[in-house]
Amino acid sequence: MHEFFAMSGYATYVWGSFGLTFAVLIANWWFAVRKHQATLQRLRRQNTAPDAAPASVVREVVT
């Protein structure tokens, strides 16, 4: 088991690569989900208060 984690001395590089990759994949997913929720929320606010902000004025959600 110890041998497996040691990766014949390249542990930092191998685990670093896998860790970074999965961190970026998860972050990608998180950003995509959050963007969708933020979009829904923004449109909801626009619908409930149509006088306050005409639809065309609502700016695009970033991320």
Binding site: F4, M7, S8, G9, Y10, Y13, V14, G16, S17, F18, L20, T21, V24, L25, A27, N28, W29, F31, A32, V33, K35, H36, A38, T39, L40, L43, R44, Q46, N47, T48, A55, S56, V58, E60, V61
Partner: protein, 256 residues
């Protein structure tokens, strides 16, 4: 045929279809990633030359592959958007860019983490693949910078599309010129591409490439859905969908 095309291209239809496909793509991608990564880290035999460091290939190569695939998707969507004036295609192109950029970053970072133990340096200028990936990252950033500096969405769509198409011609030119250039500077050949991989090494790699692609698909669909909602915000179906999701739980959203 034409009718089918129109129905297929209707934003509402695409929104629903992407919503149906997304969980499947995501689920398959996660299963594939677990299997491929397990195969790569545990089952694949140790490389006699690079020892365990070669295992970085199981995240590096899929990232590099996706970095290019995402650009191709962006360019093809841009052509469709420009030629057939299809707004949905532009939405696909915008959605692909940040995902592609993140995969390009990953390809560079894992390449660097691989280069340090193998070549003794984090960065090797003479390696044509690293150079091409770096320039690809610049092209993605340029595309996003151009889009974000143009306020009008319609104009940003089409200007971005022209840039993406010019860019794809350029990426090919850059790739070959950098390869030509590095051949003059005796590029390192630590990664011997010609070596035949045994099946136990190759299978996890293929699984991961497919899983990364599926994951890209799930991400693309998710971003596309947000993009479509924002673009169609004044359409009746979007208003209804938004109101439904406001009134009840998130489940109602599926009725779209």
């Amino acid at each position: 045929m034409w009718k089918w095309f129109h129905q297929f291209a209707s934003p509402q239809h695409v929104y629903r279809l992407a919503g149906q496909w997304m969980p499947w793509l995501f689920g398959l991608a996660v299963v594939g990633l677990v299997v491929g990564t397990y195969g790569g880290l545990v089952r694949a035999p140790v490389d006699y030359q690079q020892k365990d460091a070669f295992r970085i290939i199981y995240v590096h190569v899929p990232s590099a592959y996706l970095s290019m695939l995402a650009y191709v998707v962006m360019a093809i969507a841009s052509v469709i958007g420009l030629v057939w004036r299809m707004k949905l295609a532009h939405a696909v192109a915008v959605s692909a860019a940040p995902i592609g950029a993140s995969f390009t970053f990953l390809a560079l970072a894992t390449g660097s983490l691989w280069g340090k133990p193998m070549w003794g340096t984090w960065w090797e200028w003479s390696d044509p693949r690293m150079m091409t990936e770096l320039l690809l990252l610049f092209m993605y950033l340029g595309y996003m910078a151009l889009r974000s500096s143009i306020e009008d969405r319609n104009r940003a769509d089409r200007a971005g599309a022209v840039l993406a198409i010019v860019g794809v011609v350029n990426v090919v030119l850059i790739h070959y010129s950098v390869e030509w250039w590095s051949s003059l500077h005796q590029g390192q050949t630590v990664m011997n591409d010609d070596a035949v991989m045994p099946a136990s090494m190759l299978t996890p790699l293929l699984i991961n490439i497919v899983s990364f692609s599926l994951f890209f698909g799930a991400l693309l669909f998710s971003r596309l859905r947000s993009e479509v909602l924002m673009r169609e915000r004044n359409a009746r179906w979007v208003r209804r969908l938004v109101n439904d999701s406001a009134a009840g739980s998130q489940k109602v959203e599926r009725h779209a």
